[in-house]
Amino acid sequence: MKKEIDSDKAFIRLNNVAKYYEMGESVVKAVDGVSIDIKRGDFVAVMGPSGSGKSTAMNLVGSLDMPTKGHIFLDGEDISSLNESELAQVRGKNIGFIFQQFNLIPTLTVFENVVLPMALQGVPQYEREEKAEKILRRLDLLDRREHYPNQISGGQQQRVAIARALANDPEVILADEPTGNLDTKTGLKVMDFLTELNKEGRTIVFVTHSPELAKKYAHTIYWLKDGKIERVTKERKK
């Protein structure tokens, strides 16, 4: 099933990808012929007004959604040809998601939320608990480990979400408006942490509608409009 394609060093490649939704009679072209190459270790912002297709593009990169047309390659592998179970494997092992709404499982504690992705991958209990503890310590959440998501603040919840995203040590972190539900100060802390992860060599892709945030943190910015890439800008960082 795996098609090895010369990726030109592109870690994530979208090759003329389109995603159409049928809404009754009409067809909504959420993403319409997008080609993107993201290098390993890049820090990418996807910018655009609402309805520009940036979240859909993010879902496609994250293998949550299948493209109507085109191919998506992750580390040279064409993930658009995988079945649902294989896609779940890709998500579980290679991608860490961070959402605007934090999306923690409300019935599980902070600790269990971080353990869950590892449990789904069959990591042995001792190993996953040790790892979860290590990650929670790094995010300064150890004293919250037995709390439930509704017992901690939004900033803490987003840190738990980051901890969960790191559980299986993914190379790619996808963040969909990670600061959207946080106050400015807490939001900047989250972005600083993503920067830290990027410096470790992880590829970060985040969706935002804030040009300031994109310009401040991203190395590469894709500007989307009406499902198409309007322009690409490179930001020089110190």
Binding site: L64, L120, N168
Partner: protein, 402 residues
């Protein structure tokens, strides 16, 4: 990954509405468990009422022929001649005529009404003792030479007949105005009849009630216990001839303990089938309740399913999560049913014991509990298959939108 922990976490957060749907499973399992416990106890109770482990005993009783007009002595009693002729049958080893008479028993300035039965003399005495497995708890059995002496059932000794205190050998008990000396107490039989009766030599009974012309029943010992059914047929043939009745119009009954037990068991089995039908309907309704609860749960937790998929859960893992959760839901209903069923079964047996004076140990079977719990888990899990498939098939992006 431990689906049971996940299931427990989710079920803990469920509202009372979800648990109400468990009533069906709960009632069904309750009915099955209590019924089986009770009917096992009842079978034992019925068995013990015969007071005999000797299954070779045939009992002949006089009965109404069903043709006399009401009050015209529906019972056609067994005569001395019936007894003598039965004894002459080649397939009969021995036959003992028995009477049970009612009377006033006085002791310790208290009076109760009770029953007395005859003990024949000679070799018939030994046969009867053997048949009823008579052993004494204290004192001795009656002998041919005894006159004015009695043997008592165990409850007289245990002070359970209402005479205010226990009776021991050597005590004098007044029966129908005459004093009798107690020589012994029969071992506990766990049978209402045997434990509450007064045993008297035939002569003493005749001195109180006049000479015995008719028998209430006749105990027959077959010559060969493997041929017990043939002996039974011989007696039936003989009595039909003696009493001039046709097949199907008998004014007597000839029964073996096995046949009597079978009759009781067949009634119990009919009740069992009825309860099982009711329980099945109840469990079926319960299963539909679980399907309903789980379907609602899948809809309510779409977002959670989306999150699970985003962090790497496969369709199979999502399916298993809901499947196990549904099974655990069934198991909870079943466990509550088992608890109430065992409690009812236990107190039911206690009630029967009290009522008939038996001492049956409630038979609470570990297997019954195990299979009831396993069954309720499976019912829940099976009911959860469709909702779980629905959960597994959710599109992650749509599910994440909630």
């Amino acid at each position: 990954m431990n689906y049971f922990i996940l299931a427990y976490r989710n079920l803990r957060k469920k509202g009372i509405r979800s648990y109400l749907t468990l009533l069906g499973i709960c009632i069904g399992i309750f009915a099955v468990v209590s019924l089986i416990t009770l009917s096992n106890g009842l079978k034992l109770a019925v068995g013990s009422q015969f007071g005999v482990s000797s299954t070779e005993l045939i009992t002949v009783e006089g009965a109404g022929n069903g043709f006399g007009h009401p009050g015209s002595g529906q019972v056609n009693p067994l005569t001395q001649r019936d007894l003598q002729e039965i004894e002459k049958l080649s397939s009969v080893k021995a036959a003992v005529g028995r009477v049970i008479v009612a009377g006033k028993i006085e002791f310790n300035n208290k009076v109760v009404f009770g029953y007395a039965t005859n003990i024949p003399s000679g070799k018939d005495r030994d046969i009867l003792y053997q048949q009823i497995e008579a052993k004494t708890a204290v004192g001795r059995l009656l002998k041919d030479s005894d006159s004015g002496k009695i043997l008592l059932g165990y409850n007289f000794y245990a002070n359970k007949v209402g005479l205010g205190r226990e009776i021991v050998p050597g005590n004098k008990v007044n029966i129908q105005g005459r004093d009798f000396e107690v020589v012994g107490i029969v071992e506990k039989k766990g049978s209402f009849i045997f434990d509450n009766i007064v045993f008297m030599n035939e002569r003493d009974i005749e001195s109180l009630y006049g000479s015995i012309e008719e028998w209430d029943f006749i105990n027959v010992l077959p010559r060969d216990k493997k041929e017990i059914d043939k002996t039974k047929e011989d007696i039936e043939k003989l009595l039909r001839r003696l009493r001039d009745v046709k097949v199907g119009e008998e004014d007597f009954t000839v029964s073996t303990p096995e046949a009597s037990l079978e009759q009781v068991n067949s009634i119990l089995n009919a009740i069992t089938i009825f309860i099982i039908i009711v329980a099945s309907i109840s469990i079926f309704v319960g299963a539909i309740g679980i399907i309903n609860t789980m379907t609602t749960s899948v809809l309510e937790r779409r977002k959670e399913i989306g999150i699970m998929k985003a962090i790497g859960a496969t369709n199979r893992q999502i399916f298993m999560q809901f499947f196990i959760e549904s099974g655990v839901l069934g198991l909870i209903g079943g466990a509550i049913g088992v608890i109430f069923g065992v409690v009812l079964g236990y107190f039911g047996i206690m009630g029967i014991n009290n009522f008939i004076g038996a001492e049956i140990q409630p038979q609470i079977s570990i297997y019954l509990i195990f299979f009831a719990l396993l069954g309720s888990f499976l019912i829940g899990a099976i009911a959860g298959i469709l909702p779980a498939m629905r959960a597994a098939k959710q599109n992650p992006v749509e599910a994440l939108r909630g």
